[in-house]
Symmetry: C2
Subunit: 200 residues, 2 copies
């Protein structure tokens, strides 16, 4: 009889390790975290953990893969939205609320800082950023073709500016102890709608 893995259990255990590792990265930073610390946080022996991840880099690659899947979901929601402006508002709202937890912002900043120094870490996140930008450009261009978005806007810079806004919002919980995502939503909706639709 072959020793087989239960795929669902394997995935669930991987997810638990990722969560434990993310907690370590947030508290101590990527560089200061050792594999042993991740084992302790996940309640596993090094031998057991190495069946799932062979290095900290492979853990951060898995974080990039999770981001990729989240972006793909956001872009699919956008593509399905009958009104591209409302769709973009909903995406910004969803991301802002997900980052209401300062730990999410801390992890994103920690990962970005490591990506800025370590090309192996950067690779996955640069690919995600390029895919996200291409996806938002496509949504803007489709919206322009159907008249919902100002055709005078240059789609690539407009996508980059919207993504920069999202990125910046994700860090606000670190920099502003009074940051309240809900208080920003009406103003963000005004910004997105005015920016993307031509003044009457």
């Amino acid at each position: 009889m072959a020793r087989t893995r239960d795929p669902a259990r394997f995935e669930a255990r991987r997810g638990e390790i990722l969560e434990a590792a993310a907690g370590c990265f947030i508290r101590r930073g990527f560089h200061q975290t050792g594999m042993q610390e991740i084992c302790a946080a996940a309640g596993m022996s090094p031998g057991a953990l190495y069946r799932y991840f062979d290095s900290k880099e492979s853990i951060i690659e898995a974080i990039a893969e999770a981001e990729q899947r989240e972006n793909a979901t956001l872009l699919a929601d956008l593509a399905e939205s009958p009104d591209p402006v409302a769709g973009l508002e909903a995406v910004v709202e969803a991301v802002l609320l997900a980052y209401a937890d300062p730990d999410e912002g801390r992890l994103a900043v920690e990962v970005l800082a490591e990506a800025a120094r370590n090309p192996r870490v950067a690779e996955g996140f640069l690919r995600n950023a390029a895919e996200l930008k291409a996806g938002v450009v496509a949504v803007l261009e489709a919206g322009q073709a159907e008249g919902a978005i100002d055709p005078g806007l240059a789609a690539a810079p407009a996508a980059e500016v919207l993504i920069a806004l999202l990125d910046g919002l994700c860090g606000r919980s670190i920099l502003d102890p009074e940051h309240d995502p809900h208080a920003l939503l009406p103003t963000l909706r005004i910004l997105i709608r005015r920016f993307l639709t031509a003044p009457a």
Copy 2:
């Protein structure tokens, strides 16, 4: 005769050390950088360097003080601008172009990651962020009082959204190898103007 310091020379030397330290933080990260490495990069002995900074924390505090002075200059320029919308456009333009150098973005992200973990490091940057937000709120409210900015906008969320946009723009050079700040400027001006002025 007392041994006196030439204040201008002292300041210049401090600036050189800060620059050398920033280069180390960008290449290796704040935590992985030792005082000895900063000494080597600045071409100084530890004894000489300790006359200027007694710890890495005091170096990062000096980086926060430099940011505070830059913010004060931006806010003074804004207060002097006869047109608040054009003034905000100019500030966003100046910051975006300063961050065209990816090393500026890398340092900002590295410092933010450290601030997210280390309250002593966070202190100066949180104070700067609060001052910047208060300054932008004051500019928006003054613009609303004189009719240049839509009085229907809530000033505090509008300021926070504009600052988030700026923050996010500062990281784009890390995440997008094709990032071209000049290509974004016309679109950014459209965004700021449409956001801040009521549709006719």
